[in-house]
Symmetry: C2
Subunit: 356 residues, 2 copies
């Protein structure tokens, strides 16, 4: 194993024919004498030449490859769901994915797109690892491309993202359904970022309250940073206000994890004393908390599938308004939501037992 | 954008020359008349033909592609570190990775290897997502291949895995260094699986105790299943024994996470009352616990780099004993280990305050 593979030129030389002839044999064209075909085939056999996709690619102009370009793969555990969804769909359609992790840097991303195009990819999935606006390399316009968990400001590419507003609404409605009216919300990022996951989930929360006739109370809302520590600190802070919340909606499961530590320090039990809904359905966190966390699942696998499905419909012609698709974030019911207790909100001593 | 790409045959037809001539122009061969070269180039320009890697591949016999085959990507958050390590090294060497997620099934894996070989990959990284023996498709012998986080029983492929024994030893030594002698160990899987991460980490624990002159006490060892619930239950169980442990070494960070909930229920504070070392350095868990968890990092990125580095040295000739490399698991110091207290182990009431 592991010898240098013979090229088409090696075959041509050894068979004493031209490269064009070898190409015709490879491509099963009719215009080759049978004796020549036999000779070339024998040489291929002898030299261990294995016709590759490259020959088929040259012949058909189709690589049967899609590029899959990601950013920030390292900072998120979600990449694999996205890649897996895309991959499964691509495999069904007899395509393979050329995956590039183009972390962070504009220059790296532009180079990655150029490399993918040079490889003859039939399309590119440009996947961000959290929902935000992206500034894509110009070269991305040269092939069919779909933005995943991201969008361009010009909306000049098809895009598929989670429906953050609907997710925030559903999470809040779940808590309302169990009788909670004092529902805190901690956003998963600062609102000044403008990130749809921060702004949208809060918007959904606001809508759900309004629909239920519950007055919005800004004393119940905090801007979190997404991590466990932020959830821990804001939970303690919210438990110290007058008329504290009986339920919490966190913009990430990680913040809910931090909150669990705060609740335990206060002697509060989920869901008997306090109800919680998270967001992300993060592997090994949402299902590992005690009790396991009710949360909103991000549609990563579905977004990956949608992207490949859409690429498979290319070419799209002169579509001036490519689809901007939002996919719902389904609720995953576990054990962190329970009915509000009549006495809740009126026992201040319960929030004074713990330590900080 | 997104029109069907012209093939080399389209170019040949439009230029009124043979495919071999187009191939020679593409490959910058000398034996083409200048007028012909000009004509072919003009046609390529007019039809928007973009010479791809396919042509270079045909010419040189080198695809500059490595295959990256994974299993069980979906069940682990580690895949991205492995892929990222491999990818970064491949990029430096001007190679790209063709990534296939061949989950679970032998048939899918064999097909994936066949596809990669058909694509002309120069080598294959066969990456398992946890350390275990793998039964690889026969076709893997047809190209240079490296097993990552896995090995073949025949040891007939180069392999790179974490040094589980050394990791278990270092974790235990960390606790011994702070004066702990009653150190519990909960394995990350059942020992009957034979998985190196379960057996090896326990072996390292045993070695470290022996070197420190601490008698092995089987009352302190439990076979866990790796998840948070297992850590939670065994922690309660171990706290109920006579002369309970003052320190815990868990074979996964997830079990340590479960243990934290058990400690809090018992009114025990980490690291004042009890010390903990985990294993995996799992994103969003090890750093999110309160206090953050001291743990052993799995060398995923380093294994990915090693695999590519080794592939780049192929062909290897008739090597009958390919390298079986173990990489160390570095300790990540956080806040979960503290000095043993003189009174520890003699206050049974402290383990009776919590609830189950």
């Amino acid at each position: 194993m592991a010898e240098k593979k013979p090229s088409i030129h090696d075959i041509a030389k050894a068979a004493g024919v031209g490269v064009g002839t070898v190409s015709r044999v490879l491509n099963e064209r009719a215009n080759v004498a049978e004796a020549t075909r036999t000779k070339v085939t024998a040489v291929m056999e002898r030299l261990g030449y294995r016709p590759t996709f490259a020959a088929r690619h040259i012949r058909t102009g189709r690589s049967q490859l899609f590029g899959f370009l990601t950013d920030q793969v390292t900072t998120t555990p979600f990449a694999h769901d996205l890649i897996k969804g895309a991959q499964a769909r691509a495999r069904q359609a007899d395509r393979m994915l050329l995956v590039i992790d183009a972390d962070g840097d504009d220059r790296v991303r532009a180079q990655a797109v150029a490399n993918l195009i040079e490889r003859g990819v039939e399309g590119i999935v440009y996947a961000a690892m959290f929902h935000h606006e992206v500034h894509v390399p110009k070269a991305l316009h040269e092939v069919p491309a779909v933005l995943v968990d991201s969008f361009s400001s010009a909306r000049d590419f098809p895009s598929v993202v989670p429906d953050e507003v609907l997710g925030g609404r559903m999470a809040t409605e779940r808590l309302l359904a169990d009788g909670h009216r004092r529902i805190a919300m901690v956003t998963n990022d600062f609102l000044t970022t403008g990130y749809p996951a921060a702004v949208g989930r809060l918007e959904g929360y606001t809508q759900a309250l309004a629909d239920a006739g519950v007055a919005f109370d800004e004393a119940l809302v905090r801007e979190g940073s997404g991590n466990a520590d932020s959830g821990y600190r804001w939970t303690h802070d919210l438990l110290d206000i007058d008329d504290p919340p009986t339920a919490f909606f966190f913009g990430t499961d990680r913040m809910a994890m931090g909150a669990y530590f705060a609740f335990t320090e206060r002697g509060l039990h989920v869901p008997d004393d306090v109800s919680v809904v998270g967001f992300d359905d993060q592997h090994y966190i949402a299902d590992a908390l005690r009790p396991a966390l009710t949360t909103m699942a991000l549609p990563h696998a579905a977004m990956g599938r949608w992207a490949i499905d859409h690429l498979l419909t290319a070419p799209w012609g002169d579509d001036r308004s490519p689809p901007q698709r939002r996919l719902p974030c389904p609720i995953v019911e576990r054990g962190s939501v329970g009915p509000v207790r009549p006495a809740q909100g009126a026992t201040p001593e319960r929030s004074l037992t713990g330590r900080r």
